[in-house]
């Protein structure tokens, strides 16, 4: 099956990407790997509600994708499928080449280590320092203790929190808390970084800082998928935009604005 190839970061081209269509643009000489692929994914919940219907989505390595759409459009369901909190009713979800629907129970944690995820509400442990919150992700996945500290220091440098390493989340601003969560999500060197409404609890200025950080992480080679309502940010950054409405992909556009511009 023909897959799309990499889209250069910062591309301002405006072509529509239709599900399943090949991408004619290929500045990268080496064909990139596909980090994430959803093929004909339908998700119905036991109450009969169909949250997703025939969704196709392909994200090559190094991409930065905004997942937009009104509440209830299916963004959360996409994320739940990606972290295998839910299984698709029909269709296939591939993450780094693995079919999430066919994973054995004990393989699920290993797949989750390939994903870094942050949420609107940060989900930090209030009684652990920044360093310990980040180290926690390694600790509970069986990392050796001597490997934890250098890895934590590295990601704290990336998010710029080296100076706050020994503070508790309660002592931090909202932006710093989100950066702590980002550091924790990065510490496993994820193949895919998912940000679920990461700026939802932050004021505009801090939101921009977080976006800048996510863009920087993307430049470091991490594939980013960000679900958001923040039209201003999406429009200003001009990245790939995948819009969901009523459980369907209604737009998949490179270098796009939050709203359809044509």
């Amino acid at each position: 099956m023909a897959m799309v190839s990499a889209v250069p970061s910062g591309s301002r081209s405006n072509q529509i990407r239709r599900p399943g269509a090949t991408d004619q643009q290929s500045q990268a000489s080496i064909p990139s790997r596909i980090v994430l692929a959803m093929q004909g994914v339908t998700k119905s919940y036991p109450n009969g509600r169909e949250a997703l219907h025939g969704v196709d989505l392909t994200v090559p390595e190094g991409d930065f994708v905004f997942l937009v759409g009104p509440s209830g459009a299916g963004k959360s369901t996409v994320i739940k499928l990606l972290i295998r909190d839910e299984l698709p009713t029909r269709g296939v979800v591939l993450l780094d080449g693995r079919d999430l629907g066919r994973l054995k129970r004990r393989e699920v944690p290993k797949i989750r280590r390939k994903i870094g995820i942050v949420f609107q509400d940060f989900k930090l442990l209030p009684n652990k320092t920044v360093r310990d919150n980040v180290g926690f992700a390694l600790e509970v996945t069986g990392a050796r203790r001597r490997d934890i500290e250098p890895a934590v220091d590295r990601v704290l440098r990336v998010v710029g929190l080296t100076g706050q390493a020994d503070q508790l989340p309660g002592q931090l601003s909202g932006g710093e808390q989100q950066r702590t969560a980002i550091a924790r999500a990065l510490v496993h060197n994820p193949r895919l970084f998912i940000a679920d409404e990461p700026t939802g609890n932050l004021d505009p200025l801090i939101s921009w800082e977080i976006i800048q950080l996510l863009l920087r992480i993307n430049e470091l080679g991490v594939t980013v998928l960000m679900a958001t309502h923040n039209a201003e940010v999406v429009t200003a950054v001009r990245k790939r935009v995948v819009a969901l409405e009523n459980g369907r992909v209604v737009r998949d556009e490179l270098g796009a604005a939050y709203h359809r511009e044509d």
């Binding site: 972290i83 909190d85 129970r105 004990r106 944690p109 290993k110 797949i111 989750r112 280590r113 390939k114 994903i115 995820i117 989900k123 442990l125 009684n127 926690f136 992700a137 600790e139 509970v140 996945t141 069986g142 050796r144 924790r184 496993h188």
Partner: protein
């Protein structure tokens, strides 16, 4: 493997102290329930000891003919002692019977003294191993020429056997019911402690911790709650040993000293086993509901 166990133990220890209030609540519930449980066990042990004692006290009394000579009586005594159902045979002479009577009814002394002869018969008092054997021994005694008559206590014995049986069954039933209630309450308290840390479990799942890494710290923590609760309970029982023993000997009259040492040991083991077991079970069940999703 060692690293995993060390990790789990360290996390259990941290979890216990960082959620001090919930841990305290769980531990105190555990202590309360274990004290209740051991109190009940002590009570039932006392009751059982009393019942055993009462059973031993069941005596068959055979009144002897005045004509019986000493040789015949001794022969009968020996043959009775040879019976498997019999634990002890005591001979009460006519004089002894009179003395016992006067001791019980001092007011009657005048009447008794006015009698020309001693009207009270000599008797054999036979202790039984099991009151149910009463009939065997009584039948045997009735067939003996030296025996005048056998005191008919059949009805009394039957009633007592029934009552003791009911008391034993009732005690065991209460113990089982209270045990189940204790289990339920402790499991739920530990569940609360786990629910209070649902965030932590969620984060662990999100960052890709395996089920074992999520489960075992909680199980060790449950064991810790159980262990601590058991140790406190045993401490309380040890401190209360004097009053408890006093209570037992006052209300139940009997509790052999050597038995109380074993009873203490048994209760300590039961308390420890129940505490740790229920702590582990509670944690396992509580965490399981988060893992199966």
């Amino acid at each position: 493997m060692f690293a995993f166990v060390a990790f789990s133990l360290r996390r259990a220890w941290q979890g216990f102290w960082r959620n001090g209030l919930m841990s305290l609540a769980a531990t105190l519930t555990m202590v309360l329930m274990l004290v209740l449980l051991s109190g009940l066990i002590i009570l039932l042990t006392g009751l059982n000891a009393t019942l055993d004692f009462v059973q031993q006290e069941v005596q068959v009394v055979a009144y002897l003919k005045d004509s019986a000579n000493q040789q015949d009586i001794s022969g009968l005594e020996i043959s009775l002692q040879g019976m498997a159902q019999v634990t002890q045979v005591d001979f009460v002479s006519k004089d002894q019977a009179m003395k016992d009577f006067l001791a019980r009814h001092p007011d009657e002394a005048e009447v008794i003294n006015s009698l020309p002869t001693n009207p009270l018969p000599a008797s054999l008092q036979i202790n039984l191993r099991d009151p149910n054997d009463y009939l065997d021994v009584a039948t045997y005694l009735k067939s003996q020429p030296t025996v005048d008559r056998v005191l008919n206590i059949k009805q009394t014995v039957d009633q007592m056997v029934t009552v003791i049986g009911i008391l034993r069954a009732g005690g065991t039933a209460i113990l089982v019911v209270v045990g189940l209630i204790v289990l339920f309450i402790i499991v739920n308290t530990i569940r609360l402690a786990v629910v209070a840390r649902a965030d932590e479990i969620e984060i662990m799942r999100l960052v890709g911790a395996s089920d074992a890494f999520i489960r075992w710290p909680f199980i060790f923590e449950g064991a810790l709650v159980g262990l601590l609760g058991a140790v406190i309970t045993i401490g309380l029982l040890f401190v209360g040993q004097g009053p408890i023993t006093g209570f037992l000997s006052d209300y139940f009259r009997v509790l052999p000293v050597e038995a109380s040492a074993t009873v203490g040991q048994n209760i300590a083991l039961i308390v420890l086993g129940t505490g740790v077991g229920v702590g582990v079970l509670g944690s396992y069940l509580s965490v399981r509901s988060y893992l199966i999703r």
